[in-house]
């Protein structure tokens, strides 16, 4: 469903992704692990459509359609979701208002009518109960003053409500304590189904104890340098990245 083909990306003339290729099948959870600076976050931003990255060659295809020509909002309406490593604080916009605007923007993009307020409230209530998100939090401005764990739970709440075709989780485990990690992981696992794909970016094996990947890719210096099953993550945990970093050089 998601194919990244020979992707070259630079920022201010500096190469970040250097011929990266990757495919995620429907129903698959692919993990990407790699050292700091290997380009993991850049990959997630380029898939989501953040401006400021220069794609010098390559393609990112979702169900065969090249995403790179589309602005971020159109990609989202086609089913791409990025759970941010550092969710952005939006002062003055109540979380609830934002959720409704997002959901309805996507519905309009698909030619569907806006949700009625009761239906919207019902969905939010249901999802937030599962993710242990306090209703009071939803009345506060989006992410403003939220703890790291709260922000990540709100990310997963958004993902649950938006019901994407393909989700990228960028270091969703960073800043989470064990309980929050469990809640967030359960949220992700609840969305696993045979039609949806996930790309889970992480530094650490521990997230993959909770979200079991089908495939693990190792990224270094802007490309995939090794791929394997879940055992690859365990091996990395033991030996670190140094073998791959040297290989990629």
């Amino acid at each position: 469903m998601l194919e990244v083909k020979d992707l070259h990306v630079s920022i201010h003339g500096k190469t970040i992704l250097d011929g990266l290729s990757l495919a995620v099948k429907p129903g698959e959870v692919a993990a990407i692990m790699g050292p700091n600076g290997s380009g993991k976050s850049t990959l997630s931003y380029v898939i989501a459509g953040k401006p400021g990255y220069e794609v010098t060659s390559g393609e990112v295809l979702l169900d065969g359609e090249n995403l790179l020509d589309l602005p971020a909002d159109e990609r989202a309406r086609k089913g791409v979701f990025l759970a941010f490593q550092y969710p952005i604080e939006i002062p003055g916009v109540a979380t609830m208002t934002f959720l409704k605007a997002s959901l309805n923007a996507q519905r309009r993009g698909r030619g569907e009518a806006d949700l009625t307020t009761p239906e919207f409230m019902r969905r939010v209530r249901e999802a937030s109960q599962r993710l242990k998100v306090d209703q009071e939090m939803l009345r506060r401005p989006l992410n403003v003053g939220f703890s790291g764990g709260e922000k990540k739970r709100i990310e997963i709440l958004q993902m649950t409500l938006l019901n994407p075709r393909f989700a990228v989780l960028d270091e969703t485990d960073s800043g989470l304590d064990i309980d929050a990690l469990r809640i967030v992981s359960e949220g992700v696992n609840a969305l696993r189904d045979p039609t949806r794909g996930f790309l889970v970016i992480t530094h650490y094996q521990r997230l993959l104890d909770h979200i079991k990947p089908d495939v693990v890719h190792v990224m270094a210096k802007g490309r995939i340098v090794a791929s394997g099953g879940p055992e690859l993550a365990l091996e990395l945990e033991k030996n670190g990245y140094r073998d791959y970093a040297v290989e990629a050089a």
């Binding site: 979701f81 003055g92 934002f98 605007a101």
Partner: protein, 426 residues
């Protein structure tokens, strides 16, 4: 040391002729003195610090003819304007071209007295406030009796009615007796791009008086010059907000004096400036007595080639110990040509005070836009959401749900109009 007076500009010469022609007024000593104060300095130029960013002498090529007293047709036109304007509060008072028009408004609520009469002398130090004092045909005075509490807002609608170019002068006085409580909204309506409006409002709160004041300017005057002259006695409390969304050249100047101990003032505003418009808010809060409390919070959204100005000065006199003052100005620029000039200042002559100020000028944060877009919200909608939130936070300082809601609707209309214009240009 007085600088040599520059030769009179065309507008200054016209103003002098116009005043002389108002024979009854020109013969009144208080009015003559006010005009003399204006004439001594003339129209302000950028060499005067308080007018540094708005060179009125250069901008005002001439003074438009004075609006005549409204005739039957003008009163009918005024009625039509009022019919299209949603009523706010418990009583509406109306001025037409600077003259109190009781027949167009309501009876004042219990505890309030209203009169059109000769303005009291203020000896305003500002040239333009002095000009209004000299030229205004009469004044509208709203007095709230000591201890009275007015149940809802009193709205004063200042109408500009007429064809073609004209100038109008309006003088309004709001006075609260000891312990009185009231909310007053001043709405400026009807001005076309050929209108020069000169307005002044005095606000006097006796001991323990409490006033909420909102001024809303959304019409299209060529010139909107508005002065607020505020005087607070001990324990008095004022919350005053200015909403600006119209006028080619808009200048609001606020001179506030916290004369009594433990007085409190909260000044706030939101300016929405687009096209080639210019909106200037210049204020001076003077703490004279101990334990005064002042907050100023102003925001501006500046689009296209528009220019915003905020100048704020908090002055703390030697006797005003334990003053607590804080001032903030924040602006968002929506285009590379948009301009904001912000100059907050403190002048402190007492040693035991807490005072601070800050100013920010920024564009919409692209990280925020991307975040919203990544959820499927189109870019224009994301921008409007963020601007709406930015403006709404300023409006919240009004601290009155009904009034804030009215202002938020104006903000939403301005944002929607802006999007339409963008599409039309595309």
């Amino acid at each position: 040391m007085a600088a040599p007076a520059p030769s009179r500009s065309t507008a200054e010469a016209t103003l002098a002729r116009q005043f002389a022609a108002l024979k009854a007024l020109a013969a009144t000593p208080g009015r003559a003195a006010a005009f003399a104060r204006f004439a001594a300095s003339g129209l302000p130029t950028r060499r005067i610090e308080a007018w540094h960013y708005t060179d009125l002498r250069a901008a005002m090529t001439d003074a438009a003819p004075l609006a005549p007293a409204p005739d039957g047709a003008a009163i009918e036109a005024a009625r039509a304007l009022l019919a299209a304007h949603d009523k706010i509060g418990v009583a509406r008072l109306v001025t037409v071209n600077g003259r109190f028009a009781p027949e167009l408004g309501d009876a004042p609520p219990d505890g309030a007295a209203v009169a059109g009469r000769e303005a009291r002398a203020t000896e305003a130090r500002d040239a333009m406030a002095s000009l209004v004092e000299a030229m205004s045909p009469d004044s509208l005075t709203v007095e709230i009796a000591a201890g009275a509490e007015i149940a809802g807002p009193i709205e004063i609608v200042h109408l500009a009615v007429g064809e073609g170019a004209f100038s109008l002068y309006s003088w309004t006085e709001i006075a609260l007796g000891a312990g009185a409580r009231a909310t007053v909204v001043e709405t400026f309506l009807g001005a076309t791009p050929a209108v020069q409006r000169h307005a002044a409002t005095t606000v006097r709160l006796a001991r323990g008086g409490w006033l909420k004041h909102v001024a809303a300017i959304g019409d299209e005057a060529e010139l909107h010059l508005e002065s607020q002259l505020i005087d607070l006695e001990a324990e008095a409390e004022l919350n005053a907000f200015g909403f600006v969304s119209g006028g080619a050249l808009n200048r609001r100047q606020i001179f506030a004096r916290l004369a009594g101990a433990d007085a409190k003032i909260a000044l706030g505003g939101l300016a929405l400036i687009e096209g080639t418009r210019r909106a200037d808010t210049t204020l001076e809060v003077v703490h004279v007595a101990p334990r005064g409390f002042s907050r100023e919070f102003y925001r501006a959204i500046v689009a296209d080639e528009a220019v915003g100005v905020f100048q704020g000065k908090i002055m703390v006199a030697p006797g005003a110990q334990k003053t607590d003052g804080a001032m903030k100005s924040q602006a968002v620029l929506l285009s590379p040509q948009a301009q904001m000039n912000a100059k907050p200042e403190l002048e402190i002559f007492a040693d035991d005070v807490i005072c601070g100020h800050g100013a920010t000028v920024a564009s919409i944060d692209p990280e925020m836009i991307f975040y919203l877009q990544s959820r499927g919200i189109p870019k224009e909608e994301a921008e409007a959401m963020l601007l709406d939130a930015f403006g709404a936070e300023a409006i919240a300082k009004v601290d009155d749900d009904a009034l804030a809601e009215g202002l938020r609707a104006r903000l939403a209309a301005w944002l929607a109009g802006r999007n339409l214009r963008t599409e039309a240009n595309a």
